[in-house]
Protein backbone atom coordinates (compact mmCIF):
# COMPACT_ATOMS: atom_id res chain seq x y z
CA UNK A 1 0.00 0.00 0.00
CA UNK A 2 2.86 2.37 0.80
CA UNK A 3 5.26 3.35 -1.91
CA UNK A 4 8.52 4.48 -0.29
CA UNK A 5 9.67 6.27 -3.38
CA UNK A 6 6.50 8.37 -3.56
CA UNK A 7 6.01 11.54 -1.50
CA UNK A 8 2.91 12.34 0.54
CA UNK A 9 0.78 15.32 -0.54
CA UNK A 10 1.54 18.74 0.80
CA UNK A 11 -0.33 19.18 4.03
CA UNK A 12 -0.47 21.70 6.83
CA UNK A 13 2.51 23.66 8.11
CA UNK A 14 3.58 23.17 11.72
CA UNK A 15 1.73 26.37 12.59
CA UNK A 16 -1.50 25.15 11.01
CA UNK A 17 -1.25 21.80 12.79
CA UNK A 18 -0.96 23.81 16.01
CA UNK A 19 -3.91 25.97 14.99
CA UNK A 20 -6.04 22.88 14.30
CA UNK A 21 -4.97 21.37 17.63
CA UNK A 22 -5.97 24.60 19.39
CA UNK A 23 -9.49 24.24 17.94
CA UNK A 24 -9.70 20.85 19.65
CA UNK A 25 -9.52 22.46 23.11
CA UNK A 26 -12.68 23.16 25.12
CA UNK A 27 -13.27 26.68 26.42
CA UNK A 28 -12.36 26.92 30.09
CA UNK A 29 -10.27 23.77 30.04
CA UNK A 30 -6.87 23.17 31.61
CA UNK A 31 -4.29 22.15 29.03
CA UNK A 32 -0.68 21.01 29.05
CA UNK A 33 1.45 21.48 25.94
CA UNK A 34 4.46 19.30 25.17
CA UNK A 35 7.80 20.55 23.92
CA UNK A 36 8.22 21.37 20.22
CA UNK A 37 5.25 21.74 17.88
CA UNK A 38 2.64 21.58 20.69
CA UNK A 39 4.16 24.69 22.27
CA UNK A 40 2.86 26.67 19.28
CA UNK A 41 -0.74 25.84 20.27
CA UNK A 42 -0.70 28.52 22.98
CA UNK A 43 -0.45 31.15 20.25
CA UNK A 44 -3.72 30.04 18.63
CA UNK A 45 -6.27 30.14 21.45
CA UNK A 46 -8.58 33.07 22.04
CA UNK A 47 -8.20 34.74 25.44
CA UNK A 48 -12.01 34.75 25.62
CA UNK A 49 -11.98 30.95 25.68
CA UNK A 50 -10.41 31.08 29.12
CA UNK A 51 -8.12 28.12 28.49
CA UNK A 52 -5.54 27.76 31.24
CA UNK A 53 -2.17 26.35 30.25
CA UNK A 54 -0.32 24.24 32.77
CA UNK A 55 3.45 23.82 32.55
CA UNK A 56 4.73 20.75 34.37
CA UNK A 57 7.60 22.71 35.87
CA UNK A 58 5.03 24.37 38.10
CA UNK A 59 2.80 27.00 36.47
CA UNK A 60 -0.95 27.05 36.01
CA UNK A 61 -2.06 29.96 33.86
CA UNK A 62 0.54 31.08 31.36
CA UNK A 63 -0.73 32.75 28.24
CA UNK A 64 1.96 32.24 25.66
CA UNK A 65 5.60 32.52 24.78
CA UNK A 66 7.14 35.89 25.55
CA UNK A 67 10.44 36.30 23.78
CA UNK A 68 10.77 39.96 24.73
CA UNK A 69 11.72 39.80 28.35
CA UNK A 70 13.58 36.74 29.58
CA UNK A 71 13.34 35.92 33.27
CA UNK A 72 15.14 32.65 33.86
CA UNK A 73 12.69 31.76 36.67
CA UNK A 74 9.60 32.21 34.46
CA UNK A 75 9.68 29.54 31.80
CA UNK A 76 7.54 26.69 30.48
CA UNK A 77 8.64 23.06 30.41
CA UNK A 78 10.51 23.69 27.17
CA UNK A 79 12.61 26.42 28.75
CA UNK A 80 10.82 29.21 26.86
CA UNK A 81 9.90 32.44 28.65
CA UNK A 82 6.16 32.84 29.22
CA UNK A 83 3.66 35.48 30.26
CA UNK A 84 1.15 34.90 33.03
CA UNK A 85 -2.61 35.43 33.04
CA UNK A 86 -4.43 37.02 35.99
CA UNK A 87 -5.12 34.19 38.40
CA UNK A 88 -1.99 32.20 37.62
CA UNK A 89 -0.30 30.12 40.30
CA UNK A 90 3.08 28.52 40.98
CA UNK A 91 3.73 25.18 42.66
CA UNK A 92 6.51 22.63 42.94
CA UNK A 93 7.07 19.58 40.74
CA UNK A 94 5.39 17.19 43.20
CA UNK A 95 2.19 19.24 43.19
CA UNK A 96 2.43 19.68 39.43
CA UNK A 97 2.48 15.95 38.76
CA UNK A 98 -0.17 15.30 41.41
CA UNK A 99 -2.30 17.59 39.23
CA UNK A 100 -1.30 15.71 36.08
CA UNK A 101 -1.53 12.10 37.26
CA UNK A 102 -4.59 12.85 39.39
CA UNK A 103 -6.72 13.61 36.35
CA UNK A 104 -6.95 17.37 36.83
CA UNK A 105 -5.61 18.24 33.35
CA UNK A 106 -8.45 18.28 30.81
CA UNK A 107 -6.24 17.84 27.77
CA UNK A 108 -2.61 17.48 26.78
CA UNK A 109 -1.14 18.11 23.35
CA UNK A 110 2.06 16.13 22.84
CA UNK A 111 4.31 15.38 19.92
CA UNK A 112 4.63 11.83 18.67
CA UNK A 113 7.07 9.51 16.96
CA UNK A 114 4.51 6.74 16.44
CA UNK A 115 0.87 6.09 17.37
CA UNK A 116 -0.59 2.60 17.06
CA UNK A 117 -4.04 1.45 16.00
CA UNK A 118 -4.81 0.76 19.67
CA UNK A 119 -3.81 4.28 20.67
CA UNK A 120 -0.40 3.35 22.07
CA UNK A 121 2.03 6.28 21.95
CA UNK A 122 5.79 6.30 21.36
CA UNK A 123 7.37 9.72 21.68
CA UNK A 124 10.43 9.70 23.92
CA UNK A 125 13.05 7.32 22.59
CA UNK A 126 14.58 7.01 19.14
CA UNK A 127 16.16 3.54 19.03
CA UNK A 128 18.92 4.69 16.69
CA UNK A 129 19.91 7.35 19.24
CA UNK A 130 19.29 5.55 22.54
CA UNK A 131 19.19 7.17 25.97
CA UNK A 132 16.09 9.20 25.44
CA UNK A 133 14.39 12.19 27.02
CA UNK A 134 11.07 11.46 28.64
CA UNK A 135 10.28 14.59 30.66
CA UNK A 136 6.67 14.53 31.78
CA UNK A 137 5.35 12.68 28.71
CA UNK A 138 4.61 9.36 30.43
CA UNK A 139 2.75 11.05 33.28
CA UNK A 140 0.77 13.24 30.89
CA UNK A 141 -0.10 10.25 28.69
CA UNK A 142 -1.43 8.41 31.74
CA UNK A 143 -3.05 11.35 33.51
CA UNK A 144 -4.52 13.81 30.99
CA UNK A 145 -8.24 13.27 30.44
CA UNK A 146 -7.85 13.78 26.68
CA UNK A 147 -4.59 13.17 24.86
CA UNK A 148 -4.07 14.90 21.52
CA UNK A 149 -1.01 13.99 19.46
CA UNK A 150 0.20 16.66 17.05
CA UNK A 151 2.80 15.35 14.60
CA UNK A 152 3.83 14.97 10.99
CA UNK A 153 1.86 12.20 9.31
CA UNK A 154 5.01 10.47 8.04
CA UNK A 155 8.72 10.50 8.85
CA UNK A 156 11.27 12.38 6.78
CA UNK A 157 11.83 9.14 4.96
CA UNK A 158 8.14 8.86 4.11
CA UNK A 159 7.41 6.08 6.61
CA UNK A 160 4.00 6.25 8.31
CA UNK A 161 4.04 7.30 11.95
CA UNK A 162 0.56 5.85 12.46
CA UNK A 163 1.18 2.12 12.62
CA UNK A 164 -0.45 -1.20 13.51
CA UNK A 165 1.95 -1.71 16.41
CA UNK A 166 4.63 0.73 17.56
CA UNK A 167 8.17 -0.52 17.07
CA UNK A 168 9.58 2.43 19.03
CA UNK A 169 9.49 2.01 22.83
CA UNK A 170 6.15 3.10 24.25
CA UNK A 171 5.33 6.19 26.27
CA UNK A 172 2.07 4.59 27.42
CA UNK A 173 -0.44 2.03 26.20
CA UNK A 174 -3.92 2.94 24.87
CA UNK A 175 -3.64 6.59 25.80
CA UNK A 176 -4.20 8.59 22.59
CA UNK A 177 -7.63 10.09 21.85
CA UNK A 178 -6.99 12.23 18.78
CA UNK A 179 -4.17 12.47 16.23
CA UNK A 180 -3.71 15.74 14.37
CA UNK A 181 -1.21 15.69 11.50
CA UNK A 182 -0.38 17.75 8.45
CA UNK A 183 -2.84 15.52 6.53
CA UNK A 184 -5.72 14.65 8.84
CA UNK A 185 -7.59 14.58 12.13
CA UNK A 186 -8.01 10.98 13.25
CA UNK A 187 -10.00 9.80 16.27
CA UNK A 188 -8.78 6.81 18.26
CA UNK A 189 -11.36 4.60 19.93
CA UNK A 190 -11.89 1.00 20.94
CA UNK A 191 -13.10 0.29 17.40
CA UNK A 192 -9.90 1.63 15.86
CA UNK A 193 -8.70 4.68 13.97
CA UNK A 194 -11.39 6.78 12.38
CA UNK A 195 -10.76 9.61 9.92
CA UNK A 196 -12.61 12.74 11.01
CA UNK A 197 -11.14 15.50 8.81
CA UNK A 198 -8.64 15.89 6.00
CA UNK A 199 -6.32 18.79 5.30
CA UNK A 200 -7.42 21.06 2.45
CA UNK A 201 -6.65 19.40 -0.89
CA UNK A 202 -5.96 15.99 0.64
CA UNK A 203 -8.33 13.09 -0.07
CA UNK A 204 -9.37 10.43 2.46
CA UNK A 205 -7.72 7.86 0.18
CA UNK A 206 -4.41 9.73 0.31
CA UNK A 207 -4.59 9.83 4.11
CA UNK A 208 -5.25 6.10 4.18
CA UNK A 209 -2.37 5.48 1.79
CA UNK A 210 0.11 7.21 4.13
CA UNK A 211 -1.32 5.60 7.26
CA UNK A 212 0.28 2.34 8.36
CA UNK A 213 -2.79 0.92 10.12
CA UNK A 214 -6.40 0.24 9.11
CA UNK A 215 -8.29 3.53 8.89
CA UNK A 216 -12.08 3.74 9.11
CA UNK A 217 -13.32 6.24 6.51
CA UNK A 218 -16.88 7.32 7.27
CA UNK A 219 -19.17 8.21 4.34
CA UNK A 220 -18.68 11.89 5.01
CA UNK A 221 -15.26 13.26 5.96
CA UNK A 222 -15.07 17.00 6.49
CA UNK A 223 -12.25 19.19 5.27
CA UNK A 224 -10.50 21.01 8.11
CA UNK A 225 -11.68 24.58 8.49
CA UNK A 226 -8.64 26.63 9.43
Amino acid sequence: MIMPDARPPNGLSRELIALRAARELEPGSVVNLGIGLPTLVAGFVEPADGILFQAENGILGYSGISESDFDSDLINAGGQPVDLVAGASFFDTADSFAMIRGGHIDAAVLGGLQVSAAGDLANWYVPARGGGSVGGAMDLAVGARKLIIAMAHVTRDGEPRIVEVCDYPLTAERCVDVIITDLAVIDVSASGLSLRETAPGVSPQEVARWTGAPLIIPPVVAEMSL
Binding site: G58, S72, D92, F97, S133, V134, D139
Partner: protein, 230 residues
Protein backbone atom coordinates in the same frame (compact mmCIF):
# COMPACT_ATOMS: atom_id res chain seq x y z
CA UNK B 1 19.52 22.33 62.94
CA UNK B 2 21.60 25.48 62.70
CA UNK B 3 22.53 26.74 59.27
CA UNK B 4 26.04 27.75 58.30
CA UNK B 5 26.70 30.68 55.96
CA UNK B 6 29.67 30.29 53.57
CA UNK B 7 31.65 33.01 51.86
CA UNK B 8 31.81 31.42 48.45
CA UNK B 9 30.19 28.60 46.48
CA UNK B 10 33.59 26.89 46.32
CA UNK B 11 33.89 26.92 50.12
CA UNK B 12 30.36 25.57 50.46
CA UNK B 13 31.09 22.49 48.33
CA UNK B 14 34.80 22.02 49.09
CA UNK B 15 34.41 19.06 51.46
CA UNK B 16 31.96 17.07 49.35
CA UNK B 17 33.75 13.75 48.86
CA UNK B 18 34.23 11.88 45.60
CA UNK B 19 31.70 9.24 44.66
CA UNK B 20 28.61 10.69 46.30
CA UNK B 21 25.09 11.16 44.95
CA UNK B 22 24.14 14.80 44.43
CA UNK B 23 20.59 16.05 43.94
CA UNK B 24 20.62 19.14 41.76
CA UNK B 25 17.56 21.39 41.92
CA UNK B 26 16.19 23.45 39.09
CA UNK B 27 14.33 22.96 35.86
CA UNK B 28 16.27 24.11 32.82
CA UNK B 29 16.96 27.78 33.68
CA UNK B 30 14.55 28.15 36.63
CA UNK B 31 15.77 27.66 40.16
CA UNK B 32 19.06 26.15 39.01
CA UNK B 33 22.03 26.34 41.43
CA UNK B 34 24.44 27.49 38.74
CA UNK B 35 27.05 28.90 41.10
CA UNK B 36 27.17 25.68 43.11
CA UNK B 37 27.44 23.54 39.98
CA UNK B 38 30.34 25.64 38.69
CA UNK B 39 31.98 25.44 42.13
CA UNK B 40 31.73 21.68 41.93
CA UNK B 41 33.54 21.85 38.62
CA UNK B 42 36.22 24.01 40.18
CA UNK B 43 36.74 21.78 43.22
CA UNK B 44 36.93 18.76 40.94
CA UNK B 45 35.16 15.93 42.78
CA UNK B 46 34.82 12.82 40.67
CA UNK B 47 32.80 9.63 40.47
CA UNK B 48 29.64 11.59 41.13
CA UNK B 49 26.05 10.53 40.55
CA UNK B 50 23.86 13.50 39.65
CA UNK B 51 20.08 13.46 40.06
CA UNK B 52 18.55 16.31 38.10
CA UNK B 53 15.65 17.07 35.82
CA UNK B 54 17.83 17.79 32.80
CA UNK B 55 21.34 17.41 31.50
CA UNK B 56 21.84 18.65 27.99
CA UNK B 57 23.26 21.32 25.74
CA UNK B 58 23.51 24.57 27.64
CA UNK B 59 22.98 22.98 31.04
CA UNK B 60 25.76 23.87 33.45
CA UNK B 61 25.55 20.35 34.80
CA UNK B 62 26.85 19.23 31.42
CA UNK B 63 30.08 21.11 32.20
CA UNK B 64 30.86 18.52 34.87
CA UNK B 65 31.28 16.03 32.04
CA UNK B 66 34.21 17.96 30.60
CA UNK B 67 36.54 16.51 33.23
CA UNK B 68 34.50 13.30 33.56
CA UNK B 69 33.27 14.17 37.06
CA UNK B 70 29.90 12.47 36.52
CA UNK B 71 29.83 8.71 36.16
CA UNK B 72 26.08 8.31 36.53
CA UNK B 73 23.09 10.53 35.85
CA UNK B 74 19.46 10.05 36.91
CA UNK B 75 17.37 12.50 34.88
CA UNK B 76 14.25 13.04 32.77
CA UNK B 77 15.87 14.90 29.84
CA UNK B 78 19.23 13.53 28.70
CA UNK B 79 19.65 12.45 25.06
CA UNK B 80 17.89 14.53 22.43
CA UNK B 81 15.89 12.87 19.65
CA UNK B 82 17.76 15.00 17.15
CA UNK B 83 21.47 14.32 16.88
CA UNK B 84 22.64 17.49 15.22
CA UNK B 85 24.75 18.47 18.22
CA UNK B 86 25.79 16.43 21.21
CA UNK B 87 26.09 17.43 24.83
CA UNK B 88 29.26 16.49 26.69
CA UNK B 89 27.18 14.07 28.70
CA UNK B 90 25.99 12.40 25.52
CA UNK B 91 29.59 11.91 24.44
CA UNK B 92 30.50 10.31 27.78
CA UNK B 93 27.36 8.19 27.65
CA UNK B 94 28.12 6.96 24.14
CA UNK B 95 31.71 6.21 25.15
CA UNK B 96 30.39 4.06 27.99
CA UNK B 97 32.00 6.32 30.57
CA UNK B 98 28.77 7.49 32.17
CA UNK B 99 25.57 5.62 32.95
CA UNK B 100 22.11 7.03 32.48
CA UNK B 101 18.93 6.15 34.37
CA UNK B 102 16.08 7.92 32.65
CA UNK B 103 13.03 8.43 34.88
CA UNK B 104 9.63 9.99 34.10
CA UNK B 105 9.40 13.41 35.70
CA UNK B 106 6.39 12.64 37.88
CA UNK B 107 8.05 9.44 39.05
CA UNK B 108 11.38 11.15 39.73
CA UNK B 109 9.76 13.71 42.00
CA UNK B 110 7.65 11.07 43.78
CA UNK B 111 10.73 8.91 44.38
CA UNK B 112 12.54 11.92 45.83
CA UNK B 113 9.51 12.86 47.90
CA UNK B 114 9.29 9.30 49.24
CA UNK B 115 13.00 9.48 50.10
CA UNK B 116 12.49 12.67 52.07
CA UNK B 117 9.16 11.71 53.64
CA UNK B 118 10.10 8.33 55.10
CA UNK B 119 7.97 6.37 52.64
CA UNK B 120 9.10 3.04 51.20
CA UNK B 121 7.67 3.74 47.78
CA UNK B 122 4.60 4.72 45.80
CA UNK B 123 2.38 2.97 43.28
CA UNK B 124 1.96 4.73 39.94
CA UNK B 125 0.51 3.92 36.54
CA UNK B 126 3.22 5.98 34.87
CA UNK B 127 5.58 3.72 32.96
CA UNK B 128 3.37 0.61 33.04
CA UNK B 129 3.76 -1.35 29.81
CA UNK B 130 6.95 0.54 28.91
CA UNK B 131 10.71 0.10 29.21
CA UNK B 132 10.49 2.01 32.51
CA UNK B 133 8.74 -0.97 34.12
CA UNK B 134 11.51 -3.43 33.30
CA UNK B 135 12.88 -5.12 36.39
CA UNK B 136 10.38 -3.39 38.65
CA UNK B 137 7.71 -4.93 40.82
CA UNK B 138 4.09 -4.51 39.78
CA UNK B 139 1.12 -5.05 42.07
CA UNK B 140 -2.42 -5.90 41.12
CA UNK B 141 -4.90 -4.39 43.58
CA UNK B 142 -8.67 -4.53 43.13
CA UNK B 143 -8.16 -5.48 39.50
CA UNK B 144 -5.85 -2.58 38.68
CA UNK B 145 -2.15 -2.85 37.90
CA UNK B 146 0.35 -0.51 39.50
CA UNK B 147 4.09 -0.04 39.22
CA UNK B 148 6.03 0.14 42.50
CA UNK B 149 8.58 2.95 42.50
CA UNK B 150 11.17 3.06 45.28
CA UNK B 151 12.55 6.08 47.18
CA UNK B 152 15.54 8.07 46.01
CA UNK B 153 17.84 10.12 48.24
CA UNK B 154 21.07 12.03 47.85
CA UNK B 155 24.12 12.46 50.02
CA UNK B 156 24.09 16.12 49.05
CA UNK B 157 21.51 18.48 47.54
CA UNK B 158 22.43 21.65 45.68
CA UNK B 159 19.54 24.11 45.57
CA UNK B 160 18.78 27.61 44.38
CA UNK B 161 16.27 29.90 46.06
CA UNK B 162 15.54 33.58 45.80
CA UNK B 163 16.47 34.41 49.39
CA UNK B 164 17.07 32.83 52.76
CA UNK B 165 16.83 33.96 56.34
CA UNK B 166 19.33 33.18 59.09
CA UNK B 167 17.22 30.23 60.23
CA UNK B 168 17.79 28.69 56.80
CA UNK B 169 14.23 29.26 55.60
CA UNK B 170 14.15 29.54 51.81
CA UNK B 171 11.80 31.61 49.68
CA UNK B 172 11.52 30.87 45.97
CA UNK B 173 10.43 33.18 43.18
CA UNK B 174 8.11 32.43 40.25
CA UNK B 175 8.68 28.97 38.77
CA UNK B 176 11.94 28.63 40.66
CA UNK B 177 10.37 26.07 43.00
CA UNK B 178 10.21 22.98 40.76
CA UNK B 179 12.46 20.22 42.19
CA UNK B 180 14.06 22.37 44.92
CA UNK B 181 11.56 22.03 47.82
CA UNK B 182 11.36 18.24 47.54
CA UNK B 183 15.11 17.75 47.03
CA UNK B 184 15.64 19.81 50.20
CA UNK B 185 13.95 17.03 52.16
CA UNK B 186 15.82 14.13 50.58
CA UNK B 187 19.55 14.66 51.17
CA UNK B 188 21.86 14.39 54.17
CA UNK B 189 23.65 17.68 53.41
CA UNK B 190 21.60 20.47 51.86
CA UNK B 191 23.40 23.47 50.35
CA UNK B 192 21.44 26.40 48.93
CA UNK B 193 22.63 29.37 46.91
CA UNK B 194 20.50 32.46 47.35
CA UNK B 195 20.51 36.01 46.07
CA UNK B 196 20.05 37.52 49.51
CA UNK B 197 20.26 36.52 53.18
CA UNK B 198 17.89 38.33 55.53
CA UNK B 199 17.18 38.27 59.25
CA UNK B 200 14.80 35.66 60.64
CA UNK B 201 11.27 36.98 60.44
CA UNK B 202 11.70 38.89 57.19
CA UNK B 203 10.31 36.05 55.10
CA UNK B 204 6.62 35.79 56.05
CA UNK B 205 5.82 32.38 57.57
CA UNK B 206 3.31 31.60 54.82
CA UNK B 207 5.89 32.33 52.10
CA UNK B 208 8.58 29.95 53.30
CA UNK B 209 9.02 27.40 50.52
CA UNK B 210 11.56 25.28 52.38
CA UNK B 211 11.60 25.40 56.20
CA UNK B 212 15.04 25.99 57.64
CA UNK B 213 15.08 22.58 59.30
CA UNK B 214 16.07 21.11 55.95
CA UNK B 215 18.91 23.49 55.11
CA UNK B 216 22.51 23.03 56.30
CA UNK B 217 24.52 25.56 54.29
CA UNK B 218 23.84 28.89 52.62
CA UNK B 219 25.89 30.92 50.23
CA UNK B 220 24.91 34.28 48.82
CA UNK B 221 25.84 34.87 45.21
CA UNK B 222 24.59 36.71 42.16
CA UNK B 223 22.51 34.34 40.06
CA UNK B 224 23.97 33.20 36.75
CA UNK B 225 21.32 33.56 34.06
CA UNK B 226 21.04 30.42 31.96
CA UNK B 227 19.29 30.10 28.65
CA UNK B 228 18.53 26.56 27.58
CA UNK B 229 18.82 25.16 24.11
CA UNK B 230 18.03 21.56 24.96
Amino acid sequence: MSVEVFDSPAAAVADIPDGVTILVGGFVSAGTPSNLILALKQTGQSGLTAVANNIGLGDLLDELCEDRQLTRVIATFAIRASGTRSSRFEELYRAGEAELELVPQGTLIERLRAGGAGLGGVLTKTGLGTMMAEGKQTLELDGERWLLERPLRGDVALLKAWRADRQGNLQYRLAGLNFNPVMATAADLVIAEVEEIVEAGVIPPDQVGTPGVYVDRLVRCAPIPVRWDG
